[in-house]
Every structure is written in structure tokens, then in C-alpha cells.
Symmetry: C2
Subunit: 207 residues, 2 copies
DNA sequence: TTATAGCAGGACGTAGCGTCCAGTAATCTG
DNA sequence: CAGATTACTGGACGCTACGTCCTGCTATAA
């Protein structure tokens, strides 16, 4: 398939990703530099710039590389149990070493518009989509009413999770996941009279 | 009051804060540097380092300077209306120029542990506390049941707001504030049987 | 008047930035 | 095999900001 010319070195690619992870693990993300990556990977600086525009791009690829084995979400027949499992998996996957990478990438996305686009589309939006699809399957089984905004539910969850990560407002543990599960289940229990009543009220109040 | 020696120059202080805001406004936060601040403020670099440890600290002080006139939250007798007003005020205050400052500071907090501490304690925790106190006053009036975790409510709100800011997942407008208001009101409507049932379930499920 | 603290102006070495070049290495096409 | 094409190395480049230091001057309190 690939045209003429020397093919890209897979060894160099892996060495770069590994070096980046090692440096972050040992010295923290702020200490990561393109020069340092090239040195540690024993690779020319030119090669690094050839394939990645910034250190954040390197880290994002390393992260996606490791997170390739995301097992699909198992759906049962009990929304409460399924959601609890789903949220716990998500919360559990945002701890320790991974947590440090996540917050660093989110920070970088705020400072680098080009990286922001790839991070938002190739990571954040993906995660939201997975959750929304999970909820839509439950709705198809009749476990969620038609009047609940599933996008909003997903945003409440990821918002709370990211807030804990970024604001260090509390532990990211099983209890946190359970509290969120209970709250979201309450919102998913579509008591339509109350819900539509509330919407009408808000419309009136706005005028 | 102050001991001997030349007093701190208020003119220099204001010049530094103003210069920082101007540079951010014109060229964006990433273009802000300590050297640039000193140049623009026509102030010695030494003076800047004398009073602020980092550019983020300068911006945080400038932000707090401008946000000094935060009017106290008016409590009425209707939780729904009060909460709607409260959330809208908060959402409205996180837009435009201020939004750019906020995301930059949050980003910096992830990369600079020393700044993270001051940002979390002197800003994020403050905002949460104001909201929790607002909710506690409503609870004291009997508008919120005793079994609702007000800290969690506040975290859901700020989480969603910050997520919109950082992930650019949607517009930060009146409709967004209203959706959040409706969702939180639903959670604040303490239907205790349902809630405690859910908690018991979660305890059983954990064992 | 003297001690004390703040400010201006500039110099310093360090380090990463992002780009460029010349030379070498690996692969496809004819 | 020969030539075209692309990738990788190694080093160099100017640039900019970093954070610290020094000298001399200025403004206030005791």
C-alpha cells in the first residue's frame, strides 16, 4: 500500500511513546519536553517533530495506545446495576497514573487550540458518546422514559468526574461512583408529570 | 502599621495587574510571560517576582480584584426561583473574557502544584461554599429535606459548568442554566423512600 | 540621621523552542 | 540493478523566557 521510500520506523514510534510515559512518571508532565523525549528515546529531534506537533500529542497517542483494550460495556436487564457498573468502570479508569495524564492533557488543551480540537474530538466526545449509547440501549429496552435528556445526564457525570480530577475536591473512589449512580438514577426515573411541569414553569418564568 | 522601609508601590501593583489583563486580552494567556508583564507595566522584572511567584498568580489576583463586587445572593421564599437565579448568575459570570481567564487558571493549576493550592482554596472552594450555604439556608426554611447531600449537588453543578468551559461541549447560555436548574430541583425534591431504598440497594450490591 | 525595604535597570547562565541542513539508510518502481 | 522517494541521524542555528543576582537610587519609620 505505502508508496516508495523508507517506511516509518515502528521502533522509533514506540520508543518515543515509551520515553514520554517514563518521563511523566518520573518527573511529572511539566518536566516533559520535546527535547527530553528525543534524548531519552535515542531518536532525532527531527523525527519527533516529524510525527507529533507537540508533547501533548505524544502523550495522547500513548494514552490511546494503552486504552485500546477497553472492553465493551456489558448490558444486563437492570438499569440500576448496569449504570452502577458503567460508572464505576469509568471512575476507576480515571485514577492513579492515568489520572495524572488526563489532567495534564486537559490542561494542555486549554493552552493549545490545535491540540484542543483533537483532544475534544478524539477523546472527550468519544467517552460521552459511549455513555449516551449505553443509555439509549437502556431506553430501547424501556428502562428510561422518552423525556430524559441523555446528553445532559452524560454531561453531569463527566462534569462531576472531571471536576474531582481537576479541582481535587474529594476522593475518586467507589463511594463517589455510587453517589453519582444514585443521583443519575433519580434523574432517569422519568416521572413525567413532575418533569414536564417543571419545564412549563421554567418557560413561564423566563417570560 | 507597616515597619520601616519604603512602602510597596500601589501604582506598580496596579500596573502589573492591568498589563497582565491587557496581554491576555490581546494575545491570549499562553503569550503571557513574566518578562512581558514587566515590560508592559514599565516595571522591573524583579518587582514582579518580588510579589508574585508566577504569571498565574498575577492573573488570579487580577481576577479577584475585578470580582470583588459579587453581590450577595438574594434569598426569596421560592427555592425553584432562587436556585434558578443563583445558577444563572454563576453561569453568566463564566462567559466571555472571564471564561478565558478561568480556563487558563484551571489549566495552570494542573501544571503548577503550588498555584493549584491557592487556586483551589481561594477560588474553587469559595464558590462551592457560597452555593452550599445558599442551599443550607433553603433547607433551614424547610424547602429541602435533610437527606440530600448538598455538597454533591454543588459538585454536580460546578462540574457541569466547568466541563462546558473546558471541554467546549456546548453553549454556556440561559438554556444550559435552566436545564441544570431543573435537574438539581429534581434531586432536591427529597422523596425519602425512594432515596433510602436506593442507598440500601447500593450497600447490598457492594458486599 | 540612620536603618530598612522597595524599585529600576541590566547582566547572567540555562534550557527549550522550532527549524534547517548534510549525510546516511531503507524501501518501491521500472 | 539503478534511480526515485521517503525516513532517520546528528548537529547547528537564532530566539525567547526562565529565575537569580548586583548596583545604585528612593521613600518611609524610628
Amino acid at each position: 500500500m505505502s508508496g516508495p521510500g523508507r517506511p516509518r520506523s515502528e521502533a522509533a514510534r514506540r520508543a518515543v511513546l515509551l520515553a514520554a510515559l517514563e518521563i511523566v512518571g518520573e518527573s511529572g508532565y511539566p518536566a516533559l519536553t520535546m527535547e527530553g523525549i528525543a534524548r531519552r528515546a535515542a531518536v532525532s529531534k527531527q523525527t519527533v517533530y516529524r510525527w507529533w506537533p507537540s508533547k501533548a500529542a505524544v502523550v495522547l497517542e500513548a494514552l490511546n495506545e494503552g486504552a485500546a483494550e477497553i472492553a465493551p460495556t456489558p448490558d444486563g436487564e437492570d438499569l440500576a446495576a448496569d449504570l452502577r457498573a458503567f460508572l464505576w468502570r469509568s471512575v476507576h479508569g480515571a485514577r492513579g497514573r492515568t489520572a495524572r495524564l488526563l489532567v495534564a492533557l486537559m490542561a494542555e488543551a486549554q493552552l493549545d487550540p490545535a491540540f484542543a480540537r483533537s483532544f475534544q474530538s478524539s477523546f472527550l466526545a468519544q467517552r460521552r458518546a459511549v455513555m449516551v449509547e449505553f443509555l439509549e440501549r437502556a431506553r430501547a429496552r424501556g428502562e428510561i422514559g422518552p423525556d430524559v435528556d441523555l446528553e445532559l445526564i452524560a454531561e453531569l457525570f463527566f462534569g462531576a468526574l472531571w471536576y474531582r480530577l481537576l479541582a481535587a475536591s474529594g476522593p475518586i473512589d467507589r463511594n463517589f461512583a455510587d453517589e453519582l449512580t444514585d443521583a443519575l438514577l433519580e434523574l432517569l426515573a422519568d416521572r413525567s408529570e413532575h418533569a414536564s411541569g417543571s419545564e412549563i414553569e421554567s418557560i413561564l418564568r423566563r417570560s
